[in-house]
């Protein structure tokens, strides 16, 4: 993947780091694989809309996140997809404590961390780190790579005592496949893909258990995007990380995720395993979204149904009553106007055996599978 230095030496060193981190994770963490490490319930974030310059009056609110619940399990990747403005980044900021929620709770290993402050908050934040979208603007151009990656150690000196920092930073560079000798270079001396690796190294510095990655590959060219996606998968295996992977590209999300949540106007409308969402979607919005994604294969494109949605996404300051999707939904009925559909396993599927692929939460009164949304299986 990179020709910086000899693969063998690197593999050995990576092995050492991996074992150290694993041992720490195991000692500290009684949470077995599969248990929820993060539990998010009814999370709400409203941004006030104000009018007037001197005397600000609140005239409404942007309902950026409007009741979102999900679990993140140990060692898994939860993908979050949805169109621009649906609230993905806001969820990420709430989970990483960059924003305070208006309502709702966030539990980390069973402990309510929603309104922590001071030392308790600092301790939790160390374990939940964020990687940002834009490798061009999220790195300070005047800091060396060493300073950027080592910056989290200023806040958490216990992780790397002063004398040990340089070595730690070089280890991290190595882990993400960059030459440790680049430690004194500046961000502009790196390509987009390399900058994203720097962002990931920084995210790993405090050896977190959870990484929230907000569109980590969206700004990268396809050939480089694959390098970063592979790196993230490798690091997850090595360090037992749990990822929240946010993206608007449904193909990338499918590739990396174990489970996927689909968002629309501040809500999760459907959530399930990769197979449940991509092969057995029951929510009309998920189906429309899937059908709109082109696949790079003209033969697979033939005979595929494209659901072209009418109109635009309504403003989050003034979402429709009942089902948020009803203004664009071809199945909408009176019930959709007056009654909000809950994110539950739909009634008509609850009496089937628990392992049916349709047996997953979908916030639609008339949830049902639909054929030919996806390209036909290869045969």
């Amino acid at each position: 993947m990179h020709a910086d230095h000899s693969g063998k030496k690197q593999a050995r060193e990576e092995g050492v780091i991996a074992r150290k981190l694993m041992a720490r994770a195991q000692a500290e963490n009684a949470y077995a694989e599969g248990e929820a490490i993060l539990e998010v319930r009814d999370l709400v974030k409203h941004f006030p809309l104000t009018q007037g310059i001197v005397l600000k009056r609140q005239v409404g609110a942007v309902k950026a996140v409007d009741g979102v619940s999900f679990d993140l399990h140990k060692g898994e990747t939860l993908g979050i997809v949805g169109e621009s403005g649906c609230g993905k980044s806001t969820v990420a900021k709430l989970v990483t404590h960059l924003e305070q929620p208006t309502a709702g709770t966030i539990r980390y290993k069973g402990e309510d961390i929603t309104r922590l402050s001071g030392r308790a908050l600092k301790a939790v934040r160390r374990n939940i780190q964020m990687v940002f979208q834009d490798p061009y603007t999220s790195l300070n151009p005047r800091m060396t790579v060493g300073d950027i990656i080592g910056e989290p150690f200023d806040i958490h000196p216990e992780v790397a005592p002063k004398g040990d920092r340089r070595r730690k930073v070089q280890e991290l560079l190595d882990v993400v496949g960059l030459n440790p000798e680049y430690i004194n270079r500046y961000p502009h001396q790196f390509s987009g893909g390399q900058r994203q690796r720097i962002g990931i190294a920084r995210g790993l510095a405090l050896r977190p258990e959870i990484i929230v990655a907000d569109e980590p590959v969206s700004a990268l060219d396809v050939s480089v995007q694959a390098q970063v996606v592979n790196l993230m998968a490798k690091l997850q295996d090595e360090f037992g990380l749990s990822y929240m992977f946010i993206a608007h590209d449904l193909s990338v999300v499918r590739h990396i995720s174990d489970r996927v949540g689909v968002m629309y106007l501040g809500k999760i409308v459907e959530i399930g395993t990769d197979t449940e969402i991509y092969e057995h979607a029951t929510h009309p919005y998920t189906q429309a979204l899937l059908s709109a994604v082109p696949v790079p294969d003209p033969e697979a494109e033939e005979g595929r149904e494209r659901i072209v949605l009418e109109g635009d996404v309504p403003s989050p300051a003034n979402p429709p009553s009942g089902c948020h999707f009803r203004t664009r939904c071809w199945k909408a009925q009176h019930r959709c106007v007056v009654e909000e559909p809950l994110l539950i396993v739909p009634e008509n599927f609850t009496d089937t055996a628990g392992d049916e692929p349709v047996h997953h939460p979908s916030a639609c009164h008339f949830a049902a599978e639909r054929a030919s949304v996806m390209p036909p299986a290869e045969g």
Partner: protein
């Protein structure tokens, strides 16, 4: 005769750090009613080639260092600027990625659409406004009559892009160049806009050059593809052939490195390294430092575009091996 034929085009930029060879011998053709997709990563020269065709290149620092651009039988590079201006808008039009910055924020959408007819066809304000409404309806803007006086920021991204399409279509040109027309849009909106563009192209039998880095978008709408790398075309082929059997290692690498909606894999096969600096394009084949098939000859001899079949070509010394290895 093709509608447009670009022959061996060379464009360079004189920058502080040296001469950036942005386009190094690009040739392609488009017929009426045909869609050519130009595919390539950031910086590969897709937009610069299109700007040269449109005659909107930044000169200086840009300079056309060689080649011909034959449009409807005449070499555009030999025409005076005044003639070219007449061709722009009337005979060929361009749609850009970022609709918001291509529209004037202080003029109403209707005024900007109508301007095309006032300037080029001398229509009165009233006639031009009626035409603007008609165009907005044609690109399916709901309540066009009521919205004709609205300003660009009052429309959503998808609607603005449709207004850009309306503007490009206003004078019914023979050739449309769409430079990443849907890159800034969400998938569902992207699907709306692409469908609209394809419908209108069919209706008017226009030639369409679709510039993109998205292999998925291309598969659905293009007739043929030209893949660019470091200012060169490395492969051209009818769309189905290219996906079924790429004849260049770079194309193969691109196809293998994209995750697909209908596939769940574990390891994507990434192309190692990154594209070269245009100030220092490697000698021989520009792709050789990243190519898994590279041999000594690749570092010394620049591969020409070898004819692979009647309608396809590859700039790889070893294209035959790629076919045989299949």
């Amino acid at each position: 005769m093709s509608l447009l034929e670009v022959r061996d085009l060379h464009v360079e930029f004189h920058t502080r750090d040296g001469v950036a060879k942005a386009v190094n011998g690009v040739s392609y053709e488009v017929d009426a009613g045909e869609t050519l997709a130009v595919l390539g990563e950031s910086g590969s020269g897709k937009s610069v080639t299109a700007q040269a065709v449109m005659g909107i290149l930044d000169i200086p620092p840009g300079r056309i260092a060689g080649g011909e651009i034959i449009f409807q039988g005449q070499d555009l590079l030999k025409l005076p600027e005044e003639e070219r201006r007449k061709i722009r808008g009337r005979k060929m039009a361009m749609i850009f990625q970022d609709a918001l910055s291509s529209l004037n924020p202080v003029l109403s959408v209707g005024y900007q659409l109508g301007e095309m007819f006032r300037v080029h066809q001398g229509m009165s304000r009233k006639e031009a406004r009626a035409k603007a409404v008609e165009l907005m309806e044609r690109v399916r803007i709901p309540a066009a009559r009521e919205r004709v006086n609205d300003y660009p920021h009052q429309f959503s991204g998808g609607m603005r892009q449709r207004i850009m399409i309306a503007m490009a279509l206003a004078l019914e040109p023979d050739l449309i160049i769409a430079d990443e027309p849907t890159t800034a849009l969400d998938v569902t909106v992207q699907a709306q806009v692409m469908e609209l563009l394809a419908d209108l192209q069919r209706e008017f039998n226009m030639g369409l050059i679709l510039i993109t880095h998205d292999l998925g978008v291309v598969a659905d709408v293009a007739d043929k593809i030209a893949v660019m790398y470091a200012g060169r075309i490395v492969e051209t082929a009818p769309v189905k052939d290219l996906y079924r059997a790429p004849a260049h290692p770079y194309t193969r690498g691109l196809l293998d490195s994209i995750p697909r909606l209908d596939q769940k894999g574990h390891q994507l096969s990434a192309i190692k390294g990154m594209p070269p600096s245009l100030l220092e394009i490697p000698p021989g084949c520009a792709f050789n430092p990243r190519c898994p098939m590279a041999r000594p000859v690749c570092r010394t001899d620049e591969p020409p575009l070898y004819e692979v079949d009647d309608d396809r070509a590859s700039a790889c010394h070893f294209w035959k091996e790629m076919f045989d290895a299949r």
